[in-house]
C-alpha cells in the first residue's frame, strides 16, 4: 500500500514539474496606435517592429526576472484610430490588463490628451491619474513627455534636426537666403513642426522668412496656396505636411512651375507613402530622419520587421528600439513578472526609464533628456528615383 502511495505521489510530483515547465513565464507589453484610417500604415509597421523585436528577444532566451528565471515577451496591439477618445479608452483598457508597459501612440493629437490622464508626478497621492508607463515611438510633436512623469518618448528631436538642416543648407547652398513655408494647419505634428520648429530654426540660421501658406489635411485643391508660394519666389520651400497633402501641393507646384532651389519636407514624410503618391514630384526633397538602413543592425531590423509584414522607417524603428530598451530596463530593475505585482513592476519600469541617460539605437547612441525625451542620431535623406537616399550624415 505504501508503495502505491509513493508511486502516486511521485507521479503527481512529476506531473507538477512538467506543468511548471510547460507554463513558461511571460510578460506582456502592449502596443497601441492607428491601425485604421489614413495613418494605418504607422500602426501596421509599429506592430510588426514590436513583434519582430519580441521574437528576437524571446529566441535569445527572453527577459531575466528578479528570481533569475526567464520570461518571454508577449506583445498585443490595440487600434486607437488616431483619435484622442479612442486612445484614452485604449490606455485605460491596457491599464486594466497585466501589461507592464505601453508603447505608443501614433498621433500627437492622441498623445497629448492621453499623457494628460496619467499621474502628473509620481508619488503624488492627491493625483489619481493612471500609473502606467507609456513609452512613445511615433507621436513626435515637440515637448509632450513633460506632461506626465509616466510618459517617455523615443522620438527624434525635430528642433535639433531642422536646426542642423538649415545650418547645413547655408554651407551647401550659400546663394539660398529666403524661406517660404507650407503647413498642414489642422494636424498637431505638422502644425507644431512649422510654427515652433522650422520657422524658428530657419530664422536662427539667418534665413529670411517670406511667408507661409496653410491648408487642411483633407484638402484637395492647392491652387491658391501655391500661387502665394509662387509670388514669394523663395529660395527654400519647407513643407510641413503629411504625404497626401504633400503630394497634392507638389503636384500643384509642378503645374504652376514653382521650382525652389531647395525643397524640405516633414520628418514623417520620409516614408514610402510619399514615394507611392508622388515620387516624380518629390524628386530632390530633403528630409531629416532618425532611421535609414545604413549599417548592419539597421538592415537586420528592417529585414526582421519585413518578416512580420511591416516596413522600416523612423517611426517603426523607434518601436523596435523601445522593445530592446524595455528588456534592458526590466532586467536592470529586477522586475518580478508576477501577476500579483503588476503595479510594482510598472513602477520599477517607470523608474528605470527615468534613470536612463543613454540608450542604444540603430544609428548610434540615443541621449535621454531630463524631461524624458530622446535626442537621437539622424541623417538627411533625399528623394531620388523613387527612393530615399542618404545624402548627409551630420554627426
Amino acid at each position: 500500500m505504501k508503495k502505491i502511495a509513493l508511486a502516486i505521489a511521485l507521479a503527481f510530483a512529476a506531473g507538477a514539474a512538467s506543468t511548471a515547465q510547460a507554463q513558461e513565464k511571460s510578460i506582456r507589453i502592449s502596443g497601441f496606435g492607428a491601425k485604421s484610417g489614413v495613418v494605418r500604415s504607422f500602426g501596421i509597421n509599429g506592430e510588426a517592429a514590436m513583434l519582430a523585436a519580441a521574437d528576437q528577444i524571446n529566441k535569445a532566451g527572453g527577459v531575466k526576472l528578479a528570481d533569475g528565471s526567464k520570461a518571454r515577451i508577449v506583445v498585443d496591439y490595440y487600434d486607437d484610430r488616431c483619435t484622442a477618445e479612442e486612445g484614452i479608452s485604449v490606455i485605460r483598457r491596457i491599464a486594466g490588463t497585466d501589461s507592464l508597459v505601453a508603447v505608443g501612440p501614433t498621433c500627437s493629437n492622441v498623445a497629448e490628451p492621453l499623457f494628460g490622464i496619467l499621474q502628473k508626478k509620481v508619488d503624488d497621492k492627491g493625483d489619481s491619474g493612471l500609473q502606467m508607463p507609456v513609452f512613445t515611438d511615433v507621436a513626435i510633436k515637440v515637448g509632450l513627455a513633460r506632461i506626465s512623469e509616466w510618459a517617455f518618448r523615443n522620438v527624434p528631436n525635430e528642433m535639433t534636426m531642422y536646426s542642423s538642416v538649415f545650418y547645413w543648407l547655408r554651407g551647401k547652398h550659400p546663394q539660398a537666403k529666403t524661406v517660404y513655408g507650407g503647413v498642414e494647419e489642422d494636424f498637431a505634428h505638422s502644425r507644431a513642426t512649422w510654427h515652433v520648429v522650422m520657422k524658428d530654426r530657419a530664422t536662427a540660421n539667418n534665413y529670411t522668412l517670406l511667408g507661409e501658406s496653410k491648408w487642411l489635411l483633407n484638402d484637395t485643391n492647392f491652387a491658391t496656396q501655391v500661387r502665394e508660394m509662387k509670388k514669394a519666389n523663395a529660395d527654400v520651400v519647407a513643407i510641413s505636411a503629411h504625404p497626401f497633402t504633400t503630394c497634392g501641393v507638389l503636384k500643384e507646384m509642378q503645374r504652376q512651375g514653382v521650382k525652389p532651389k531647395v525643397l524640405i519636407g516633414l520628418t514623417s514624410s520620409s516614408s514610402m507613402e510619399t514615394m507611392q503618391g508622388c515620387a516624380k514630384q518629390a524628386e530632390g526633397m530633403i528630409i531629416p530622419t532618425s532611421y535609414a538602413p545604413v549599417n548592419k543592425e539597421a538592415k537586420a531590423a528592417s529585414d526582421a520587421t519585413a518578416k512580420f509584414k511591416g516596413s522600416a522607417d523612423l517611426h517603426s524603428m523607434a518601436a523596435w528600439e523601445n522593445m530592446f530598451i524595455l528588456k534592458s530596463v526590466m532586467e536592470d530593475m529586477k522586475i518580478s513578472g508576477a501577476k500579483a505585482e503588476v503595479q510594482a513592476d510598472r513602477r520599477k519600469i517607470r523608474d528605470g526609464l527615468a534613470k536612463l541617460r543613454t540608450t542604444p539605437g540603430l544609428l548610434g547612441v540615443n541621449s535621454r533628456t531630463e524631461d524624458r525625451e530622446a535626442d537621437k542620431p539622424y541623417l538627411f535623406v533625399q528623394a531620388k528615383g523613387g527612393q530615399w537616399v542618404v545624402i548627409h550624415n551630420p554627426l
Binding site: V38, V39, R40, T224, P243, C247, Q256, G277, C278
Partner: protein, 292 residues
C-alpha cells in the same frame, strides 16, 4: 483684382468635381426621395478599382483606368442598392439613411485596409496643359473635368427627357404608386437609377483622382460633405441645380480662402448652406412638386 478673378476661376473649375458628385446625390434623391450617403465613398471606390486595372495589367493604356472606374462605379452603385435599399423597408427613411452611412464607413475602411491608407498616384489627363492669358491661367485638367460634368449633365437630361427609361424614372420620381399602376416596375427603375448614378460616380471619382493627382481615403468625407451641400443648394432632385451649385460652392470657398484664410473657409461655406436652408430651402432650382 487679378487674384480675386484667379481664385474664383480656379474654384469654379474645381467646383466641377463637386458638381459631378452632387448630380449623383440629387438623382437618387429625385427618384427615391432617399439620401445615399455612400455615394461619395463609392465614387472614390470606383476610382480605386479603376486604378487596380492599370496595376494588374501593366502596359495597358492609361485611359483604361478611367473606363475601369466608370464600370466599377456602376458595379458599386448596384451593390450599394442591393445592400442598403433592396432588402431594407423603404418606408423607414432612417433605416436606409443609416445603412448608407454604414456603407460609407465600410467602403472607406475597405480602401484603407487594402492600401494601408497610403496615397496612390493617379494618372492625370492634360495635367501639363495650362492656358495662359497674361498672368491669368486656367488649368487644362480642370477644364476637362468641367466639360465632362457638363457632358454628363447633358447626357443625363437627354436620358431623363428623351428615353422611355427617363420617362419611367420621372414618373416614379413624381408618383411612385401611380407609376406602378401604369405598369412601371419600381424596383427596376430604382436599381437602374443606382447603376446610372454609380457609372456617373465612377466618372466623378476618376475625374477627382485626375484633378488631385492622388487617391486617398481622405477624399471620401469631404466629397460626401460637399456633395450634400451642393445637392441642398442646387435644389434636391435638380440635376442642373447640382451643376450650378457645385461651381458656385467651388468658387465661393476659394474666394473666401483668399480673403479669410483656410481655417475660416469651411465656416463660410456652412453659413452659405444655412442661408439657403433659411431663405431658399428649395435650393436654386427646386423642381416643381409632383401631384401627390
Amino acid at each position: 483684382m487679378l487674384d480675386l478673378l484667379q481664385s474664383a476661376s480656379d474654384g469654379v473649375l474645381y467646383g466641377a468635381t463637386y458638381a459631378l458628385i452632387g448630380i449623383g446625390f440629387t438623382l437618387v434623391f429625385g427618384v427615391m426621395h432617399k439620401i445615399n450617403m455612400a455615394y461619395g465613398a463609392a465614387s472614390v471606390g470606383g476610382a480605386y478599382l479603376g486604378l487596380m486595372v492599370l496595376k494588374l495589367g501593366a502596359g495597358l493604356p492609361v485611359p483604361l483606368v478611367f473606363f475601369g472606374s466608370f464600370l466599377a462605379g456602376g458595379l458599386l452603385g448596384w451593390m450599394v442598392y442591393l445592400a442598403c435599399f433592396h432588402f431594407i423597408p423603404l418606408s423607414s427613411p432612417l433605416a436606409t439613411l443609416m445603412s448608407t452611412v454604414g456603407m460609407l464607413l465600410l467602403i472607406d475602411e475597405v480602401i484603407v485596409h487594402t492600401t494601408d491608407g497610403m496615397p496612390q498616384n493617379y494618372p492625370a489627363l492634360f495635367d501639363d496643359v495650362m492656358l495662359r492669358f497674361g498672368e491669368f491661367t486656367l488649368r487644362g485638367d480642370l477644364l476637362l473635368v468641367f466639360l465632362v460634368s457638363v457632358a454628363c449633365m447633358a447626357g443625363l437630361l437627354a436620358l431623363l427627357y428623351r428615353t422611355r427609361l427617363g420617362l419611367a424614372t420621372r414618373a416614379v420620381s413624381q408618383q411612385a404608386i401611380a407609376a406602378q399602376l401604369c405598369g412601371i416596375r419600381l424596383a427596376q427603375v430604382n436599381v437602374t437609377t443606382f447603376v446610372i448614378t454609380g457609372l456617373l460616380g465612377g466618372i466623378a471619382g476618376a475625374m477627382i483622382g485626375a484633378a488631385v493627382g492622388t487617391l486617398s481615403p481622405l477624399l471620401t468625407t469631404p466629397l460626401t460633405v460637399k456633395g450634400l451641400i451642393v445637392t441642398v443648394i442646387g435644389g434636391l432632385g435638380s440635376v442642373p441645380g447640382a451643376i450650378v451649385a457645385g461651381l458656385l460652392v467651388g468658387g465661393f470657398e476659394n474666394v473666401i480662402q483668399l480673403y479669410r484664410g483656410v481655417t475660416e473657409r469651411d465656416l463660410y461655406v456652412m453659413l452659405l448652406l444655412f442661408a439657403f436652408l433659411v431663405f431658399r430651402p428649395g435650393g436654386l432650382f427646386a423642381p416643381a412638386g409632383g401631384r401627390n
